[in-house]
Symmetry: C2
Subunit: 348 residues, 2 copies
């Protein structure tokens, strides 16, 4: 059933039927009602591609699946983020187009998106420090918004980000107030902007307290469970081990917990842990009382806000960049406590 046959069935012209269905005022209410009814009865829905060709809109938002180049890992926050964003997009009649790039040729995909008119806008995930995708997208003129920011990029662009620096500064200060002096940082890959900023916050707090950072207590890698486990064991074997861990990911913190329990140590008493909690639906940080003390910010909510902003940008091409900085909550759980008099160490 297409517009033509529907119009014929109604004894009207295609124009009138199209207008009736798209809410134009030039159609009498009686006609509109009649048309809408028939459309429902015949199960008519306008062909996406024909409509898109005529209107110049794809009603799709592009997103490249974020795989970390090295190990082709899929970020665990991806699912929740997409769920949040696409819920909002759906409300505006948009769907999400997902694509996977062989190699790290993401720029090529964006150029193609533009040339093919495949999407009306793009969401950029996991920006690096000085991410060159931003300049590229500004240049090719495809509406976009970044989930996160990119330190060192001066040109204007739209973004939604968590205040990572502040979150990790506050978390570090909190540990310092509890008397911890040797605080480890288990961070994501520091070429990624969020990790860079978290380290910055951590360093700011140490510096304000007059403490020199110890390179031995800072590490950075893919945020897997195993990474947290390995590094915890390693650090607790140091001559001067940490009494607290600041960890960028819930998943790595599960590894920290495993390492501590392997060693018979109690989290919150022998060793304190603070994590960043993206509030993932399948990896909740406790029900009422959080398991981990955490800087919390829902990535799903970020997806919703970001999608809303992108809709604005697309509907008004001259709209100035939209930026939105979300503050993470510092929620206190049972994984933190006063620094022990004597640091726990690996039995050697």
């Amino acid at each position: 059933m297409n517009l033509k046959t529907l119009a014929e069935a109604l004894g009207l012209s295609q124009t009138t039927v199209s207008r009736a269905l798209n809410g134009y005022p030039e159609v009498s209410e009686a006609t509109r009602k009649r048309v809408e009814e028939a459309a429902v009865r015949f199960g008519y829905r306008p062909n996406s591609r024909a409509k898109g060709l005529a209107t110049g809109r794809a009603m799709l938002i592009g997103q490249v699946i974020p795989t970390t180049t090295q190990h082709e890992m899929v970020n665990p926050v991806f699912g929740d983020f997409v769920a949040g964003a696409s819920q909002t997009l759906a409300r505006h009649g948009y769907d999400m187009l997902l694509t996977r790039v062989p190699g790290d040729d993401e720029g090529k995909v964006y150029r193609e998106f533009r040339a093919r008119g495949a999407v009306d806008g793009v969401i950029i995930q996991a920006p690096d420090v000085r991410d060159d995708r931003i300049a590229l997208l500004n240049q090719i003129g495809l509406p976009f918004i970044v989930h996160g920011r990119s330190t060192g990029v001066e040109e204007p662009y739209s973004w939604v980000d968590v205040n990572n620096t502040q979150a990790f500064r506050r978390a570090t200060e909190f540990l310092l107030q509890l008397g911890h002096r040797r605080i480890a940082l288990i961070n994501g890959l520091e070429r990624m902007d969020f990790a860079f900023r978290r380290r910055k916050g951590y360093l700011q707090a140490l510096e304000a307290a007059g403490l020199a950072p110890d390179p031995l207590l800072m590490c950075t890698d893919e945020m897997t469970e195993q990474f947290g486990h390995h590094k915890t064991r390693y650090m607790l074997g140091l001559d001067d081990p940490p009494t607290a861990f600041l960890c960028s990911s819930m998943l790595s913190a599960v590894g920290i917990r495993r390492a501590l329990q392997d060693l018979g140590l109690t989290m919150g008493r022998d060793v304190s842990v603070i994590i960043h909690d993206d509030d993932l639906s399948y990896l909740r940080n406790g029900d009422d009382i959080p398991l981990f003390t955490a800087t919390r910010s829902s990535v799903r909510h970020a997806g919703e806000l970001l999608a809303d902003a992108l809709m604005q940008l697309i509907n008004d091409p001259d709209h100035p960049p939209i930026t939105r900085l979300l503050e993470a909550q510092l929620v206190v759980g049972s994984s933190t406590g006063p620094a022990p008099l004597r640091a726990a160490r690996l039995p050697s």
Copy 2:
């Protein structure tokens, strides 16, 4: 830059240029070379919608984001599955269209997909027992393939699934061989087919061993970390507690581990645990030696196979249904051991 201007720039007709770019044999090699070169030079890419309108293909595969109706949870396997599937789709020139349904009106989306011609095929996730989406899709004639199967659906359809029954039967047998008699099943929601089959495998093994299943040792819910934690504490508080746990999800098993460690119990000695391991990239089950004994099957790989099969179905509409049953490996880790003489119990 569109076909018309490119053709004009080359002094050729649109037809010839189109044919040259699409590899038709009626074009001389010299012309083809010239056209291809110009296309690259001008950065020409055919408009997706125009091409789709002319060919009747969308070059998109639809997928509804699987949110568990109750809590709007995003399945953690989703990310890895999508990564696998879209890699294969990309090789065939397809992208993935993601959409979110308000409510549980998934059927409406498929009808719309079809009526709008929005996608060329569809991937069905997380089938229930007697899932009515299958009949619907067969009826509306949209090519589709199911990730999983649906017990009770008699009509033919294409699917890629892990042999869940066999996997859990073998896992249970393995525990029985180790001397365990009280084996708990921490399962996903049993309206879902995979969970239903896993229970079936578990029950088969018990029956073969002449053991009666104990309802107190079987539970089913969203497979969160907390679910595993709660249930483990609960079951170890029973009068006749289990000595082993069979768990449908790595994430819930992390909760089991936490509960055991809370209680000062050692996994693999006091209590044995076997999990199903989807081999998620951020949640690896150990490097060389698996942490958990597991029935392992890569969901990413399943995504690749499934996408390949869907491509076949789309390219040949008369192709009979494709089915592919994957066997899970039973890999032995350090979470299993002989049944203890005396079951560990919660101190009361």
